[in-house]
């Protein structure tokens, strides 16, 4: 049967292609393991600062959260702003306010849930005590005593950044913007430079007195023009058409995205040196792109093992995501995000340098 002949040929070909074999059998296991590690990370108790809370309410809250008591609400809010705590709960005039930072939906949800359950338990206890004293006070022969039923505690949630109206998409939009820019630039640049290698034009270029770094920089600048417009288009579309809230400076966000895109461009061209065809370029997606998405902050890594945290620090998308969240969601400026910008710039420089080295494979000079 001819189908069997074709099948035998396909099997023989794939078995000889070690990279495809690895992608088929190792990559899915590795990606699933990473996803499992991130999503199944140990549940971490949120950290909360209690300011002026009744002792019983603090006790209730301590059952689900890591509570620190403080007297100064302003200082506590500063700690929250610095993201050294997940929430601040204040209590005055029977009104309880939960302050959250607001940019991590999972932390906000967990804080709200814990406070609500502590308040419910506290109110129940208060009510039971009121009932008890009512029963005791109205005992046989005793004069009737007026007992006021405790008022249920009103909980107000206050957001340092964002509000209750902000949707889940709004909160992950800065990350998505960075990811899509990174992804498309990586693939397009990689495939384009790969073609230069496979069609023989790179060899022809290298037979001229052009320097290796001139080829790399030429490619980087030439492609960079389109990357610039693509980045601005994606960002403008998300902000203007999709109305994604942008608390900080548009141009600072653009700078972060452009540095990320530049790093992606340089990484794409670098990795194309290790691909023989377009399929092999696409095979880099689960190896290079997927771990970055898992570790960039889309999922909370607080309870994840230490190695996950360390690994996440090796990826450019992590720094871009942090900077994008800082500017777009928290409204921070250059003075906050410059370390991330520096890291992104470092990636661009390192990848460009490695590109020049990779061309040594073709020409020593």
């Amino acid at each position: 049967m001819r189908a069997c002949t074709v099948a035998r040929r396909v099997i023989r070909q794939i078995v000889k292609d070690r990279r495809t074999m690895a992608l088929m059998f190792i990559a899915p296991i590795a990606v699933i393991f990473l996803l499992y590690t991130v999503l199944n990370a140990d549940t971490v108790q949120p950290r909360v600062i209690a300011v002026g809370l009744p002792a019983e309410l603090t006790e209730q809250l301590a059952q689900t959260s890591e509570v620190t008591e403080a007297a100064d609400a302003t200082a506590a809010l500063e700690t929250l702003r610095g993201r050294d705590t997940d929430g601040v709960v204040t209590f005055s005039d029977s009104e309880l306010t939960l302050f959250v930072e607001g940019t991590d939906p999972s932390v906000t949800a967990s804080m709200s849930r814990n406070v609500a359950s502590a308040v419910a338990a506290y109110s129940e206890k208060q009510f039971a005590e009121a009932m008890r004293s009512l029963t005791a006070g109205n005992g046989a022969g005793a004069p009737a005593k007026a007992v006021t039923a405790p008022q249920p505690l009103a909980v107000t949630v206050s957001y340092l950044n964002g509000s209750a109206d902000v949707t889940g998409f709004d909160l992950i939009a800065p990350l998505l913007m960075g990811f899509f820019i990174f992804f498309f630039v990586f693939l397009l640049a990689g495939v384009a430079f790969l073609r230069e290698r496979t069609t023989g034009t790179l060899e022809r270029l290298l037979a001229t007195p052009v320097r290796r770094h001139e080829i790399v920089m030429g490619y980087f600048l030439g492609f960079g023009v389109f990357v610039f417009f693509q980045t601005i288009l994606i960002q403008s579309f998300m902000v203007s058409v999709l109305q994604v809230p942008l608390k900080g400076d548009f141009y600072l966000v653009a700078l972060i995205n452009l540095l990320l895109a530049a790093g992606s461009l340089a990484l794409g061209t670098l990795l194309s040196a290790f691909a023989r065809n377009e399929l092999q370029m696409f095979q880099f997606i689960p190896v290079v792109i997927v771990p970055q998405v898992l570790f960039c902050g889309l999922f909370s890594l607080r309870g994840a093992p230490r190695w996950v945290d360390l690994l996440s620090k090796a990826f450019p998308l992590t720094y871009a995501a942090e900077a994008l969240n800082d500017v777009a969601l928290r409204g921070n400026g250059f003075e906050t995000v410059w370390p991330c910008l520096l890291a992104l710039f470092g990636y661009v420089a390192v990848f460009l340098f490695l590109n020049t080295l990779a061309l040594k494979k073709y020409r020593r000079l």
Binding site: T201, E203, R204, P209, R363, R364
Partner: protein
């Protein structure tokens, strides 16, 4: 003082992994000659060319172009290269190709423009200056590839199978052009596996299994072997080499 050779290769050894592709090759190419490298597919012709271009690492040996060591930027500036594959950008026009490679070879924008116009006429592509290369026939692509090799007036032209896949009329035109270039003082090193083309070279290097099995003029080779054709002469030299190797 005698002019130095256009190309000198001494004890060149090149390998891919553990496989040796060129074994201790020694070649000198004097200026102003057409030297053909004749051999079957896989004999090492293209590896020899790529070694001279400096685009593959060599294991040992020495190569110089007009006395300049390879790889060096000064040696590269002396070489015009026509690749075996067309190695063209499908979306660019013939003029854009010539301007691009002209600029890379160090021509000014005005020089490259003038030279492109001249060369498009020389390779008879001047009727299609605005057409993207993707619409070109195989012959047109080879002609453009030749024009690119000529763009910077390089004194040494390295042509890797320049006439492969083109019709006999165009092939004849190519060889007439090569003769004209030689008359202008250029040196040409061309690879081929076509025997009648080899007969038009001033000197031939016969290559087999990565070794030079014969080096001389066509008439010398025919006389030495007593063969009536270059093909028979090639077979004769191959048989001698095989005996030596046995």
């Amino acid at each position: 003082m005698a002019a130095c050779d256009a190309l000198e290769i001494r004890d060149l050894q090149v390998g891919y992994g553990k496989r040796i592709v060129l074994h201790q090759v020694n070649v000198t190419v004097p200026q102003g000659k057409i030297v053909g490298v004749l051999g079957p597919s896989g004999s090492g012709k293209t590896t020899l060319v790529r070694s001279v271009l400096g685009v593959i690492p060599i294991e040992s040996g020495h190569i110089s172009v007009f006395g300049k060591p390879v790889p060096s930027f000064s040696a590269m500036a002396e070489i015009g290269y026509m690749a075996q594959s067309d190695a063209l950008y499908d979306d660019l026009t013939s003029t854009e190709h010539l301007l691009f490679f002209g600029r890379l070879q160090g021509l000014s924008a005005a020089e490259a423009k003038a030279r492109a116009k001249e060369l498009l006429a020389f390779v008879e592509l001047d009727a299609h200056p605005g057409q993207p290369v993707r619409n070109f026939s195989g012959g047109m692509r080879r002609r453009l590839s030749l024009a690119i090799a000529l763009i910077a007036h390089a004194p040494l032209l390295i042509l890797d199978e320049p006439t492969v896949g083109i019709d006999p009329v165009l092939r004849r035109k190519f060889w007439d052009a090569f003769e004209a270039l030689k008359t202008q003082g250029r040196t040409l090193l061309t690879t081929t596996h076509v025997m009648d083309e080899a007969a038009r070279c001033d000197r031939l290097l016969m290559v087999r299994d990565g070794r030079i099995i014969a080096d001389g003029t066509v008439s010398e080779m025919l006389t030495r072997t007593g063969a009536d054709t270059l093909e028979n002469a090639f077979l004769h030299f191959s048989a001698i080499k095989e005996k030596e190797m046995a």
